[in-house]
Each structure stands twice: as C-alpha cells, then as structure tokens.
Symmetry: C2
Subunit: 327 residues, 2 copies
C-alpha cells in the first residue's frame, strides 16, 4: 500500500556462520563505505557494541572514534574495566563523563517507562548527539543485531532510527551513513565473531545486562545514593553466583521499607530482592534452586556490607507470570 | 520518689502451674468481684482473649457480655469461625461490624506506626468504648499476661490503661473495675489454662498473629481491596505451611510494583513476600529451609489464584537484622 522501500535482511544462522570469513567481509565493507572519512561509535561494554568496536577498529584504525559514555549507573568498576580491556587490545576509547546529566534527568521519575525514556533521550539526544555533531564524523557504527530487527518489526521494540535519536533531522540525514555490520546475526553469532576478533571471553561471553543498567534494578526514583546501594549489592550477587552457571542473576533495590533491627533497635530499612534464573532464551525461566547455604550467605553479606539493607528475599516465581527483570 | 502505689505481680511459672486449681480460684475471684453486676470483654480470637472469655463465662454466665469486633482486617472466615467455636462451647458472642470505621481511619495512612495507632484508637475509643458505655457494664475483663506487664515496665510496650484507652476519664474511673485474671501467667501457662477450660486446640494453641491483623501484612496504605488480596494470599500460605511445624509463616503484600506478564503482555503487577521462621522465642530466627517444590507451588498458587499478583519472593534473611514481621 505505502510506497516505502522494503529491505529484506537475510539472517545468517549461527550454525552456518564462518566467523573468519564474516570478519574479513565486514571489515572490507566498512573500509569501503567509510573510505577516507571519519566514523564514530558508542561502546557500552555489551557484546554487540564491543564486537562493532573491534570490527570498526580493524577496518578503520584511527579513523574510528569510539566513545564510552559513563552514565553513572553502571556496575562497580565497569567503565574502567571496559576501557582497560580495549586498551590492552590496542583500541583507544574516549570516556565521556555524563553522570550528572543522567542523574539530573532521572530526578523525580518513578515510572519505569519514563526512567527508560529519560536515559535513552539523554544518551542519544544530549550526550552522543553532541559528540557526533562535534566530531564531524559522518559514519555511525551501530551494533544492531537480527533479534533487534525482528523485535522492531514485531512491535516489541520501538523503531530505533539512530539518526533521529541523536537529533539529526531529515534535512541533515542525507549527509550521514549508518553502518550496522551485525544486523544478520543472532547473539550467539555475534559472540562467535567477537571470539574470532580476539576479544577476551569476559567480553564476548558477557551475560546480558539491561540497557538502562543499574537504573533498571532500582524500583522508584533513581538517585546517586540508591545506585551506590544497588551497585554494592550487585557486586556481591555477581561474585557469589557467577560460578552457578545460571542464565542470569541480579539484585533489585526495592522502594518499600521493611522493619529491621539496627544496633538492637527496631528501624525501617531497605530490602534487596535476588533473582537467579534458569532459562534457554529468556522467553521462559524458572528460579535456580540455589542451596540455602548460598542464599543465607548472600543475605548475610548484603545486610552486613551494604549500608541500610535489613532484608533480602529470593524470587521463587517462574517466568511467566514473572519476568527476568523487575522493571 | 513518686508517691504512687507499687503493685508487685508474682509470676506463676508454667511448670508450677496447676491449671485446674487456677481455673477454680480465678472463676471464684471473678464471681466475687462482679457479684450481681455486669461485665464486658472483647474477644479477638487470640489465646489470651479466648481464655479470658471462657473463664468469665464460667464465673458469670449471662452476666458477661462478650463482643467480637469485626474490623475488616481479619483472615478469611476468622470472625465466623471464632463465633461458631464459642457457640459450640455454649458461649454467646456478639459480633460488632465496624469494618467501615476501621477502613475510614486507615485511609491515606502509609506510616506503619500511624496505621497501628489508628487501629488501636478506633478499637478502644470508638468501637469498644461505645459498647462499654452503652452496656452499663462496670467490670472490664482483660487478657493481659505477665509478658505484657514486663514489656510495659521495660518500655517496649506503651502503658496500656484500658479505661483511659476506651475514653473513660479519671472522674468516671472510680466507677469501673478492670479484671485481669491472666496477669501472672506466661503464654504457655495461658495455653494450659485454655486446655483445661475445654477450649479446642486450634484456639489454645493458636499461632501468634499480630494485633493489627492483616493491616500488618500490607506495606503502605491499607484499603479493602488490598486486604482482600493479602487475605487470599495468607490463606494459601497458611494452608500450605501449617504442616511444616514452623514457628511462624506469613505473607506480605508489597507496595512496589514489578513487571509481569498477563495474557502474553507485559504489565506491572503486585508482589507477595513469604516468610517462614524457625525460632524458639521470636527474639532470634532463621528462615525455614523449605524445599523448592513447596516454594514453587506456593508461587504458582498465589499468582494463579490471587488477582493482580505476578511475583512471589521468599525471605532468606535471619532475625536480626530482619524482624519476623515486615511492618
């Protein structure tokens, strides 16, 4: 009915993927497109953006500018670790401190959807948009994968036009080129490409982590203080549960206050919920049957080491009707 | 320093208690004090008030008026069950429907202390106070036990002058007599007296339940709708866990909303927390190591049978730093 172009994207199934050949093809494609121009990309430390960074670096060397936006809501030591790992690989990464901008935008917001939108808006429109415009780069590298495309078509994800998101209007759009080298691959294929590119395993096999980072682990308003608390709890949960081989494990800071005992007196305190999932594809899941020794040790570590926390719970509900993350 | 009277109350240790003799003594004491007068008491269905009701009935027969105040925040079928059990024992109980008064007083209150105070105030000042005055009864039977006295002395409980609480001022006070026949006994002694009095075991061995009833199991504002939800969840938890022999088990309705899946779509829903405790005396406690089969069955029953609930958690924290109840 409409006159728009239809672009058919052909999936490359992971079992049919020759990652070495794929890397060769994509680096030469990227080099051809960018030519003597300048490209820019945002690295989050997730699998997709790490692989795109590595591919882009291989294709363009100095002509790729990679930015890591420190939004203040990442896990303990995460920005430093990501930058250090890429430095070891010979890839320079520019860290952009945007903590204040993100916390300012999050102030007073309690609705999960509004929180997500604020983070997306500050990232694209304010921070990365500025970087793109000031860099003079006309080529944007993006880690979009096949599942992202599918979910956009199915209406699960909103249509993400990166240029629109960074605030480049339709007039300017013709001057820009978006490059999405991973668009034919599923996550498992992206991981395989990352492995072949020489990324360390902690990068190409990194467990999924939500886009809004620790903000997705705080129920209610996100403040620097609450991020400190959930960051400390997340660190303990990840340390204790990484050896379980579970699909996903996480800590959630609740907004509800519950009674606890501090210095022998009753006092209202914070509650942390732990979730640990058995799942194949995140579509369905069941709580990992962790031994009580581990659960009690987790509760003890968190209540002792994280200020203000007096109560820790463990999720016992399947997905559905629950979901992997709480917000 | 002050000129007030000091009343020494002599504890009767449960191992030294001859419950038959105690019942004989107390019934004749009550009969002597009340004489041809009229006495009144409030029955909650808890051990203390049930035992006092039975003692008073034995001593006074028709000259005791026993009121059961239905505050709207009791467990499923509780008012009916208590009244029926006493009817079987030949004890008439008058049910006073005060649901609306309690919900009106609770509207808008989120602070746990304010919620507790509202319930106490409505019970004593409004509902029971009215009953006392209109009844013409000058004798009030109360289930105060030795631990209540100790905790009042230690400043843990506030001083409970029942006459003051029901709004009878110091001028009138001389006309009234408060009778507290259980004041020398611990809970275990009270249970023994209840057994000897012929109460059914479900009454004299009833597990502890907090004074503010289901309002103590709702975080945030208490509404009729939330009470319906926690009532249904409490019923499931008590049914499933009564056979465990645990010290205490309970469900808590959280105020925080978490993501769930309803009819295939993401939607924010309610969360129920379950606590099940191993404890000797409630001073310290540890979570019962319930098998995961039971936990998962509980989560499934609650999310299927209680409208709006998408997530169930299990407490894994010891007391201290947690407490048995959440609020």
């Amino acid at each position: 009915m409409s006159g728009g172009n239809v672009v058919e994207i052909q999936e490359i199934k992971t079992e049919n993927l020759d990652a070495d050949v794929f890397v060769q093809q994509k680096t030469s494609e990227i080099a051809d497109i960018v030519g003597r121009g300048l490209a820019i990309n945002a690295l989050s430390g997730g699998v997709d953006s790490s692989v795109v960074t590595m591919l882009g670096h291989k294709a363009l060397g100095d002509r790729l500018r990679t930015c890591f936006v420190d939004n203040g809501i990442m896990r303990q030591g995460e920005p430093e670790r990501v930058v250090w790992l890429f430095k070891e690989l010979g890839v320079p990464v520019e860290v952009v401190d945007a903590k204040q901008q993100f916390f300012d935008a999050l102030r007073g917001l309690t609705d999960p959807e509004q929180k997500r939108e604020a983070i997306t808006r500050v990232f694209y429109k304010e921070v990365f948009g500025d970087l793109v415009r000031k860099s003079g780069a006309k080529y944007l590298l993006q880690g979009t994968n096949y599942t992202d495309v599918e979910e956009t078509v199915a209406g699960i994800k909103r249509q993400h036009n990166i240029l629109e998101q960074v605030g480049i209007n339709t007039q300017e759009q013709y001057g820009y080129t978006v490059i999405e080298p991973l668009v034919q691959l599923r996550k498992s294929g992206v991981r395989e490409v990352g492995r072949v590119l020489g990324l360390p395993e902690e990068m190409y096999n990194r467990p999924p982590f939500p886009g809004p980072a620790l903000a997705a682990r705080v129920i209610g308003e996100v403040t620097p203080e609450k991020i400190e608390i959930i960051r400390a709890a997340t660190r303990i949960v990840e340390e204790e549960l990484s050896s379980t081989g579970a699909f996903q494990y996480l800590a959630i800071l609740h907004q509800d206050r519950v009674t606890g005992i501090k210095d022998g007196k009753r006092d209202y305190g914070l509650q942390i919920e732990i979730r640990c999932w058995e799942s194949k594809d995140a579509k369905e899941g069941s709580p990992t049957r962790l031994p009580y020794e581990i659960l009690e040790k987790l509760a003890e570590s968190i209540t002792k080491r994280v200020p203000g926390v007096v109560s820790v719970t463990y999720n016992i509900t399947r997905k559905p009707p629950s979901t992997i993350e709480a917000i």
